[in-house]
């Protein structure tokens, strides 16, 4: 500036000079903008479609103890916010909230839907850090411990004890999955035993000359049956015998059936090179190579099953609904049963909880607790589970609900495992999301047969142990 006037330069900038400045500026800003496309923002939950199946009537009385009576509502209306992942969970919140508010006119519940995982985890963390997270936060095992370590959920033991809320009806493994340092930090709102089921196409098995009972007699029998039901050579198959599930949870179900484990109880040492684990990995590799679509090649197992192209799918709880009878539309007979017992003599499980927690920074913990009790109530649960809104709470009054048992086939099949299921193993550094992503990356070439088992496992276990060795983030 000279005498208050702007000086535009002592000599005229050339066109080249101008472009140079513009290019540097623009490139800097573009580089700072990260990825080329913004991710879509979370959508608000849709209102139930007209004509959609209405929730069933209140459940029949159960023998189990009901939730503790609702405490007297405060005189002034309070507002609580809930954070749920996008999808069925959030949609069912939207449906149930009015019922709760009708019963509790002094509590207004506002649903803040967030994108599904993995964005959900980061979103909640960011909201919590800036004091904007909801009072009531959905938290699955995938990142529950990470939240607990960072003080996101509130410890519930004191609230439970103050309210004399009876936990006697809850399964031990369910509550254990929501514990941190021995204290309860969340309620096991939705629970399942992971990929311990087989969804099967009865017609295809019949055509292959096997029954489902023969197929699930053992892991070896399952492989033989799957091979019989497979048509075509690798890479050009027209029909698939069996589709194993992916990720750490599914692999660990199979490892446990063979007596193995992904990593030790402390979550520090990888155990995938142990003999039992190697046997399970060999079996999984055989299944992928000889009976399944190419691993990681962009297919949808449910769609394949619904089109009658696949005889058996390693399934979890939700596979009862997806694709479900509507998608199959009577084209073939199908059913769900348990995976075979492995050499260890058990069906492999990894008990998983979609928990609900109270924000440690919530200014309305009592009102939020009331809503939490409502969500855990057997009557509410029956409505959710029977209408495909989620999985059952880990409490006997829900697990043994006669309507759920008689209606939900996958639940009936899985129910015996709820009492004996093994829990969720968390890495000591709480890096489970990173671990499971890496597991799919490094095991992929083994499943497709691109790498031989021994060198593949050597490289895979090195990479995975590297993650377990990292400090907490």
């Amino acid at each position: 500036m000279i005498n208050g006037e702007l000086e535009f330069g002592r000599r005229a900038p050339s066109r080249r000079g101008f472009l140079a400045m513009a290019m540097v500026g623009v490139s800097g800003v573009l580089a700072a903008c990260g990825g080329e496309e913004a991710k879509p923002a979370a959508e608000a939950p849709k209102a139930p479609a007209a004509g959609a199946a209405a929730p069933t009537a209140a459940a029949a009385a159960t023998k189990a103890p009901a939730a503790a009576p609702t405490t007297a509502p405060a005189a002034k209306q309070v507002e609580i916010h809930t954070n749920f992942r996008q999808g069925g969970d959030a949609e069912w919140q939207a449906r149930l909230m009015p019922k709760f508010m009708e019963k509790n006119p002094n509590i207004k519940v506002v649903l803040d839907t967030l994108p599904a995982e993995p964005e959900y985890w980061a979103k909640v963390a960011a909201l919590f850090a800036t004091g904007q997270a909801g009072d009531f936060i959905w938290a699955s095992n995938g990142n529950f411990l990470g939240y607990a370590e960072n003080g996101v959920p509130r410890e519930l033991d004191s609230i439970i004890s103050k309210d004399k809320y009876d936990l006697g009806d809850y399964t031990k493994v369910g509550l254990d999955n929501m514990r941190y340092q021995g204290k309860v930090f969340g309620m096991p709102w939705g629970s399942h035993c992971q990929n311990c089921l087989v969804m099967y196409n009865e017609d295809l098995l019949k055509e292959a000359g096997v029954t489902i009972e023969q197929a699930v007699a053992s892991y070896d029998a399952l492989y033989e049956a799957a091979k019989k039901a497979t048509k075509g050579a690798a890479g050009s198959r027209t029909q698939f015998g069996f589709l194993p599930a992916g990720g750490q949870t599914a692999l660990n179900c199979n490892l446990r059936a063979f007596g193995g484990e992904t990593y030790d109880a402390a979550g520090k040492k990888l155990l995938m090179n142990d003999p039992a684990a190697i046997e399970a990995i060999k079996w999984t590799q055989k299944m992928w190579k000889d009976t399944a679509p190419v691993f990681g090649s962009g297919f949808n197992g449910d769609e394949l099953f619904a089109t009658g192209k696949i005889a058996m799918v390693q399934a979890g709880y939700p596979n009862h609904f997806v694709p479900g009878d509507k998608a199959i539309a009577g084209k073939f007979k199908w059913g769900i049963t348990l995976m075979p017992k492995g050499p260890k003599g058990i069906v492999g499980t990894q008990f998983t909880v979609n928990g609900i927690t109270i924000n440690s920074a919530s200014k309305q913990p009592d009102a939020t607790w009331e809503y939490m009790k409502f969500m855990m109530d057997p009557v509410t649960q029956e409505e959710i589970v029977l209408n495909n809104g989620g999985r059952p709470a880990a409490r006997k009054a829900v697990l043994d609900n006669p309507k759920i048992m008689s209606t939900v086939t996958s639940h009936k099949a899985m129910r015996p495992l709820y009492d004996t299921a093994l829990g969720w193993p968390a890495p000591a550094n709480s890096r489970w999301p990173e671990f499971t992503t890496a597991l799919d990356q490094v095991m992929g070439p083994i499943w497709t047969g691109a790498i031989e088992l021994d060198p593949g496992m050597k490289s895979a276990t090195t990479k995975l142990q590297e993650i377990l060795d990292k400090p907490k983030s």
């Binding site: 002592r10 900038p13 990825g35 080329e36 980061a122 960072n150 679509p293 190419v294």
Partner: protein
């Protein structure tokens, strides 16, 4: 200051009262302000008027400036600070000095160098291919053939497809067992076609083809087309009179006059290629076995899956420096091959 050469223009009469106009590279109000200064500096009253005009200029620009400072510059500076901290979003950042940079450069992150190398490989292949493809398409669409309008639309449509939809569509095309591509290959006698995205050897080339499909007929082509249409027909006619054939006209007229456009597309193309993310994120998730684990995907996973925002910020700043460095290098090299009409030869 040279009083006669303000902003590259010769001294003119004061522009007060003239309608807003633009001179090359300068907003009209700036020209008004500058032009006025040379004639009105003497009287305080007129200086006040200049200041009022100046203020108006800043006022009109202020929404952008404010937005830039708040939503771009501010977060950038904050991320620069975070790059020297350990930060997991929830807890306050802890100052760790250069640890994050050491971790990246000295082997503490086994995915850093491979992802960077992979990203450069991608850029080295994709930038020339997409530039050449776009230029050829633009040349073809600039011939004035019948149905050009329809062809332009057809070539442009793929670029309008959202990256996620494009990735999902191509996943199906590439599916080894029942995808369209392998079906066709089998029909022509290829018995064991590749597994494409599921095979570490083919995943990157497959993604390249997928991205080229959307890139060749998109914005780059449009910019080339605009550049081609800006070349004066007189030059072609003169060259033709001098006996230049089609190829000579392209080499001696089209290409030199198109170099500023090529240069612009090159800079933008390099940055876009280095930032590649969505196709890999959706189509392969970075796999198989990290074969398509690009730098920005690594940054994203580090920040939003692993909650290592301090380290991710360091990764972002390393990337920023690389991009700025490449842009400056490109600018420097451009002196040797970019020709601006009306500018003296260097």
């Amino acid at each position: 200051m040279y009083p006669d050469r303000v902003c590259g223009t010769s001294r003119r009469a004061p522009l007060r009262g003239t309608s807003p106009t633009r001179t090359w590279g300068k907003p009209a109000h700036a020209m008004v302000a500058v032009a006025n200064t040379s004639s009105v500096r003497a009287t305080p009253a007129k200086r006040r008027r200049w200041r009022a005009t100046d203020f108006q200029g800043w006022l009109w620009a202020s929404p952008w400036i404010l937005g830039f400072v708040l939503w771009t510059l501010g977060p950038m500076l904050w991320s620069l600070y975070l790059a020297f901290t350990r930060y997991s979003i929830i807890r306050a950042p802890i100052w760790v000095g250069l640890d994050n940079f050491e971790r990246a450069f000295q082997g503490g992150d086994s995915l850093f160098w491979p992802s960077l190398g992979r990203t450069f490989t991608w850029a080295l292949v994709m930038v020339p291919l997409s530039l050449m493809g776009s230029l050829l398409t633009a040349l073809m669409l600039n011939q004035g053939l019948r149905g050009t309008a329809i062809l332009r639309t057809l070539f442009f449509i793929p670029s309008l497809t959202p990256a996620v939809a494009l990735a999902v569509l191509w996943r199906w095309i590439y599916q080894p067992d029942f995808g369209a591509l392998n079906y066709l290959l089998r029909e022509i006698g290829v018995n064991s076609p590749p597994a494409w995205l599921a095979d570490a050897r083919y995943a990157m080339p497959s993604l390249m083809v997928m991205s080229l499909w959307g890139a060749v007929g998109g914005g780059t082509m449009l910019i080339f087309l605009a550049g081609l249409q800006g070349i004066s027909q007189e030059l072609y006619e003169a060259a033709e009179i001098d006996g230049a054939g089609r190829l000579a006209r392209f080499r001696n007229v089209t290409l030199p006059l198109l170099t500023p456009t090529i240069f612009f597309n090159l800079i933008i193309g390099v940055i876009a290629a280095l930032r590649t993310f969505t196709t890999a994120f959706v189509a392969t998730g970075g796999g198989p076995n990290y074969a398509t684990w690009f730098y920005i995907l690594h940054l994203y996973q580090t920040a939003f899956q692993n909650f290592e925002l301090g380290y991710a910020s360091a990764l972002a700043w390393i990337f920023f420096v690389i991009v700025i460095g490449l842009t400056l290098a490109n600018l420097r090299l451009s002196r040797r091959w970019v020709y601006y009409e009306g500018e003296e030869a260097i």
